[in-house]
Amino acid sequence: MGFIAAVNLALLGLLLAVPAVWGDFVTWQLGLYLLYGIAAQGVGLAWGRGGFLPLGNALFFGVAAYVSAMVLNATGGAFLPNLLAMLVCAALLAALAWGLAAAIFQGRTESGPYFSLITLALVLIVAQLAETAQPVTGGFNGYSGYDSIAGLDPYGNLYYLIVGLVVITSFCLMLLEKLPGGLILRGLVSQELRLQTLGFATHRVKAWAFALSAFITALAGGLYASHQGIVTPQATGFVLSSELLIWAAVGGRLHPLGPLVGAVVIGFLSAELRDTYLWWEVLIAFLFLIVVMMAPGGAVEMITRLARKLGWHAPKLTVAPNPAPPARAKAVNGPLTLRGVHVSAGGVHILEGLEFTCPARGFLCVIGPNGAGKTTMLKTITGAMPVERGEIRLGERDITNVPQYRALAHGIGRKMQIPTVFQDLTVDENLQLAALAGRTGPLDYFRVAPLGWQVPELGRLLDQPGVPLADLGPVAAGALPQGHRQMLELCLTLGATPHVVLLDEPTAGMSPEETGLMVRLIRDYQAQTGAFVLVIEHDMALVQSLDADVLVLHQGRRFAEGSFTEVRANPAVTEVYAGGHK
């Protein structure tokens, strides 16, 4: 048994021993703090893992508490109907959360204050409703006079039901961290834009994370009704919302147990200090400040960091390598065509009626002066910049202004000018995401096997002599030098074996030798897959060595095209652009 598992079991043993050792009242207190802790786990998931800050989770807690109280009242506390009602209520609130988050995050890549402010507004509205709808909710005095679930005593056996829920939520959250779903969430926080080019609809990923967050918080709210015997508007108020945040922050939002620890420790501290010390709230506020400044990851993060220093590592999930399923991209049945494409940004016209038909397969080099619109051309193809006029087609399909996350499903992969690898993830995790890209179905996020997916094209690439990534598995990608990042970015681009590969200055910042290696890798991929590869380059030796058609862009238009020799011999081209070598 691993050390971590032993710690978790010891914690559970401690929880189960509380009623016998410390008596009824402490049991009741701890039950309440654990319920708050579960609700805060939901906040921790959204904030720590999803990277967006919900200010209104008390909404789910409070609404679930009211509904639970009303159902308990109507059914006299019978166990099964009430359990069912709790689950259905939590699921409905989760669906609401999903829709809310998907609508807010669609088309944005920042986690934005909008989301936080909208959830804040909602919680204020619901708290107001709870207070004014007196006939239904009991208003200011609260809703009371019902039995607890299955008649369980809040000072006795109800506690074990709460501990059961703690075990379930903690186990599920810990499991999620190890599964592809957890990896994708961490990738999302690290580099959302790149995750979109890997084919993940990040607004939906965030929506699922928020739905799960709401679900967990609502379950805690349901049991809260039984535990307290009364539900007041405070259960759905802004104060509770912000307390959930504080518990998650102090305990640790990055670890499933952090919010629980935060809620329990602050709960008992407040209870002790409240009666003995007038300035207790100031003291708690200072504790909050100290933890946030000294350990931004919270108390549990501090402990796990210490444990790692002492050599106690969390058990690594070992996944057997297994063949990846084929990529799910649509078949490409013709060349990439741009017709009269106009793009501008910040009042500057970047593309002014670009017309071009790419070859269906093989290479195309795009050259041109700085600011000619080369990168913009790639961005518009993948939907990263909006086309104002004109259209872009891939074979028979119109792909003008596709959302960025759909580009890969059309078979298009883009390597960006400045590598955008997942800096907070290790090289291995980056490569796992590369293998997941464009291949996952809904169930794959919750299976272990996809973490071991092997893509033959990727494997061949990594096995080439000179590719430096094989020995760097556990290194954080953010610590890699620029040239290594270029290689990793290439892997991320080719993982889904796209048919249309757009490479923006793949050899920038590389020595002549590394440049040669990069060219070999790209050629090899093209030969294996018969893909169409578009390369933006300034290095004329490289352009020549690819022996491909050349498109010269100038001032947002097609300026010239032809073979390398033809373009080189064209006096109009040398007038605007000579190109060079390293």
Partner: protein
């Protein structure tokens, strides 16, 4: 000596990238540092600019010990740094980017890079990668300073503009500025360097000055 590194060591967290590296650079000189990826060029640039703490050794600049000075204190004393990425303020316009250097006019630079002069009101983030490099370079060159630390200025820049960069650096050197140039572009190094240092994974593997500098040896340094 304008800049003198005495046995400096440094890197990230627990990993030392450089151990006991020394170099000297006089006023009006260009010292080029070459090396493959991962040999610590950017790390060295950041150690000199003060963005990373030294683990050992000392740095003297203009006769004064600046080993313990912060990056902004070093900048005030005349070390102008152009980082490899993030060399411009994305959210500011070209004019605002330049205004932050304190320079009154672009002078010769405006003629060499007319695009910059024409695009004063454009926000930097809407410029192309190469244009941003050029803007970063122009920022560095108009900044009042005595030492330029340029980390791969030619990356993603078309040849004509690299040639303009070479001319601008020559002019700055003629006026007494020293330049530490981190590059992979051998042509640019050949055109400018009074001395060259080559790095590999174990440290300095090549040093040459003046006539000794040879393309052959530099390419050997860059190969595996």
């Amino acid at each position: 000596m304008m800049l003198r590194l005495d046995g400096i060591s440094g890197g990230y967290h627990d990993t030392l990238v450089h151990r006991g590296l020394s170099l000297e650079l006089g006023a009006g000189e260009v010292l080029a540092v070459i090396g493959r990826n991962g040999t610590g060029k950017t790390t060295l640039a950041r150690l000199i600019a003060g963005e990373l703490p030294l683990a050992g050794g000392s740095i003297r600049f203009g006769g004064q010990d600046i080993t313990r000075l912060s990056s902004w204190d070093r900048a005030r004393r005349g070390i102008v740094s152009m980082p490899q990425t993030d060399m411009v303020f994305d959210g500011l316009t070209v004019a605002e980017n330049l205004a932050l250097t304190g320079a009154k006019s672009l002078g010769e630079l405006g003629k060499r890079f007319p695009r910059i002069a024409q695009r004063m009101r454009q926000t930097a983030q809407t410029m192309s990668g190469g244009e941003r490099k050029i803007l970063g370079f122009v920022r560095a060159l108009v900044s009042p300073g005595k030492l330029l630390v340029l980390d791969e200025p030619s990356e993603g820049v078309q040849t004509e503009n690299i040639d303009h960069m070479v001319a601008c650096i020559r002019q700055a050197c003629a006026d007494g500025t020293a330049c530490l140039l981190f590059e992979q572009n051998i042509r640019m190094v050949e055109a400018l360097a009074h001395a060259v240092i080559g790095l590999d994974s174990s440290g300095v593997c090549y040093r040459a000055e003046g006539q000794e500098i040879s393309r052959q040896d530099m390419l050997a340094t860059l190969s595996l």
